[in-house]
């Protein structure tokens, strides 16, 4: 036994020296939840960390300024012109771009990439197909004019920035046609290959991806723009905030991306660690199902909005990870409203409930994802609702399970987080304030539909805003829409998400943009 202890002691002394490691000089080591990546194909990627991957490994047709989203500038498309009727867009392709494979990027690759999105028809395809592109018409609507020119013809004269913002999203990424088609099998346009492989021209190229484990990127020496400062980026999937914090404090990683509020507080005093934050587009809200006999009453909906402890949650369980926000457009979007008319006001809520004879309260359920901070938020909401006599039963469930119920409209209340799909305000207006068909068998399932909120009038207003050409006027229309929505909708919009990143003090130049597809690694030094 004594011998055993001795051996253990020796072993420990011996291993101790290996724990004193620092990350290599030319490598950025990052802990980040990447288990949402299910594909590396830009025509399919639709998740936060997947979007960040494409942003750093592919070039998109158009980019926006991360500090001023209204400024759009060319990426692969050097410049563009719009026809007077607003239906035809002509893009000039930037010369001299080569893919990591060595192939030259031309108009052909651009046309191929866009057509591919439509033909594969994966989850994000609607971002392009909402302009009327279909497999039948793409040969006429997405056209190569010459090696440096591409023409797009859309179905309606939308606000001109609508298409441009849609092209700044992941589906606007240009893939290497020769490389992709070399791996085509059974007419899949290389889909089964590109799902786990890479064919782009961005500042970094893929070295390896082990799903839910690691994602490793290497510098692309052929990149046409600002070449990456660090040779390699290693992203390790780590779920627990406390583990990320430990690794960061020990210097085993350079950046921790998913620290929880309490761990952020915990590292705040550490001189070796600095913290940066940036508001992101995701919004936290409650969806009140209008099929529920209590929730359909306007007074009850209104009462809910007064029964949320916005400030309390912001300061405690969310602590810097979100800010109070009560309209459907997140800050940073055209026409976003920053008005916050609601605060916790139990007396007012009680009065509202009394108007409809519910002063004794009632019981409702809330489907809640079993993760943080959703669970803590649900508990806090449960506590404040109880003050007005409303008994909230939390039904915890795994994400896809709650979502299945939500989409079947069998929930009472759903606590959700909604992220915009592209930087144009229509992305959120489309889902929160538009419901063209409220029948159970409807084809489109926007959030308004999921909560069975029938709004023919508001749908018209939303459509009108999309067609408005004058940007100032359009912003005004969205402002009004949000103001009305805030008061009448069955959505209790509570917070806008803030991304907080903790890094070692020597890490500089990491670009945190307003969306995950505008977080850039290439300027990072250490």
């Amino acid at each position: 036994m004594r011998k055993l202890l001795f051996c253990a002691f020796v072993l420990m002394c011996f291993t101790a020296q290996f724990t004193e490691a620092a990350t290599p000089k030319d490598t950025l080591v990052m802990a980040f939840k990447i288990d949402d990546i299910i594909s590396l194909d830009p025509a399919e990627i639709f998740e936060f960390s997947g979007a960040e991957y494409t942003a750093n490994t592919y070039d998109r047709l158009i980019n926006y300024d991360v500090d001023k989203v209204s400024d759009i500038y060319g990426g692969v498309a050097e410049s563009w012109t719009t026809s007077d009727d607003g239906l035809t867009f002509v893009f000039k392709i930037r010369p001299g771009i080569t893919f990591a494979s060595g192939n030259t990027l031309s108009a052909e690759d651009v046309v191929f990439s866009l057509k591919r999105v439509i033909l594969l028809n994966k989850s994000p395809a609607f971002i392009l197909s909402q302009f009327g592109f279909t497999p039948e018409n793409i040969d006429k609507t997405i056209v190569k004019v010459d090696d440096n020119t591409v023409k797009l013809v859309i179905d309606k004269a939308y606000a001109p920035t609508f298409l441009l913002y849609c092209l700044t999203s992941t589906v606007g990424s240009v893939v290497d046609m020769k490389e992709v088609m070399a791996h085509e099998k059974d007419g899949d346009m290389g889909y089964n290959w590109l799902k786990t492989a890479y064919a782009g021209s961005g500042p970094y190229k893929l070295k390896s991806w082990k799903p839910s484990e690691t994602l490793i990127l290497d510098s692309n020496t052929k990149y046409w723009g600002h070449k990456s400062e660090l040779k390699r980026v290693i992203i390790r999937h780590i779920t627990e905030s406390s583990t990320q914090r430990l690794l960061l404090e020990k210097g085993d990683i350079d950046i921790a991306r998913n620290l929880g509020p309490d761990d952020i507080k915990g590292v705040a005093g550490n001189a070796d660690i600095k913290i940066r934050s940036r508001a992101k587009g995701a919004i936290w809200y409650l969806g009140l199902n209008q099929k529920n006999k209590y929730l359909r009453l306007p007074q009850v909906r209104q009462a809910f909005k007064y029964l949320i402890d916005y400030k309390g949650m912001e300061q405690t369980i969310l602590n810097g990870k979100a800010t109070v926000h009560q309209s459907f457009l997140p800050e940073g979007f055209l026409g976003a409203s920053a008005e916050t008319p609601f605060t916790l006001d139990v007396a007012k809520a009680k009065a509202l409930l009394k108007e409809v004879g519910l002063e004794k309260g009632f019981t409702v359920t809330m489907d809640t994802r079993n993760n943080e901070p959703t669970t803590s938020m649900a508990l806090a909401i449960q506590a404040t609702l109880a003050q007005a006599g409303i008994k909230l039963e939390i039904i915890p469930g795994e994400g896809k399970q709650t979502l299945t119920k939500y989409r079947a409209r069998t929930h009472d209340i759903y606590i959700g987080r909604w992220g915009p799909d592209y930087m144009d305000p229509h992305t959120n207006a489309d889902t929160f304030a538009r419901n063209p068909d409220n029948s159970d068998g409807a084809k489109a399932n926007p959030l308004a539909w999921r909560n069975a909120w029938d709004i023919p009038e508001m749908t018209k207003k939303t459509d009108a805003a999309l067609l408005e050409k004058d940007t100032g006027k359009r912003a005004q229309m969205y402002m009004e829409l949000q103001r009305e929505h805030q008061q009448v909708s069955p959505f209790v919009i509570m917070f806008q998400e803030i991304e907080i990143m903790a890094s070692r003090a020597n890490v500089k130049g990491f670009v945190l943009g307003p969306a995950y597809d505008s977080n850039f690694y290439q300027y990072t030094t250490k």
Binding site: E240, D263, L379, Q382
Partner: protein
Amino acid sequence: MSSTRRWQHWLLSDSPASPFQAAAGRTYLGLAEFLKNRLAVFGLLIIAALILIAFFAPYIAPCDPLVTNLVNRLQPLSAAHYFGTDEVGRDIFSRIVWGSRLTLYVIGLVAIIAAPVGIIIGTVSGYFGGLIDTILMRITDIFLAFPKLILALAFVAALGPGIENAVIAIAITSWPPYARIARGETITIRNGDFIKAIRLQGAGPIRIITGHIMPLCISSLIVRITLDMAGIILTAAGLGFLGLGAQPPSPEWGAMTSTGRAYIIDHWWLITMPGTAIFVVSLAFNLLGDGLREVLDPKSDN
């Protein structure tokens, strides 16, 4: 002779006058043997305490286990909160006290579901033998072919997370050993003379199994179930820890440990308290099980 002495004499009599006296004597000897095992008694006391705590939870717990108080979150141990408060300001001591009900609920329900299933399958299989035996034992083997926790995980995945589903999943995975034991006992009993006698009196198989075989299997099953209790508690806690057992806000100890994990660096009490509770209770069941085994099954020497 004092009255205690007299009782002892009556109990230990070499020639008991009635079957009752004989039974009482045996029980007394077993009890005396059991009481000599101080650790087992200790285990029994802890379990008794657990049951009392669970029963009187509303009187013992100073706070409501579910009421959140965001201002008071993550408070260290103090006179107001013996075990501190958790991430939404709930009193951990109260949660552990109420959690004892969930623990009892889980083990109780598993025992109520798994034991009868095991005993029925085992006795039927052992009594009839032949094809029925082969089929039933095959099914038992199929369930035994899976590691317990993994099969429970798969079931929970199918049924959805939740404490009831965790109980069902654990029960589904714990009956096979009981069936095996019951079958073994049945095979040794079924050809006994007294069973033959009953059969000659015209009793049907159902009566023989339920009336005469099952009661005889029960004592060995009880030992086995007691020994399994610790394992059941640990499995339930493990499921809770993985987020597949009891769901928030219910004060299940494994789930509490799981939540506490996020605060492990600065707020040690969030994970230490429920973890200790799990440990103490499963230790108690192990001690008790060991003690019972020594008394009821003197062959094994542990």
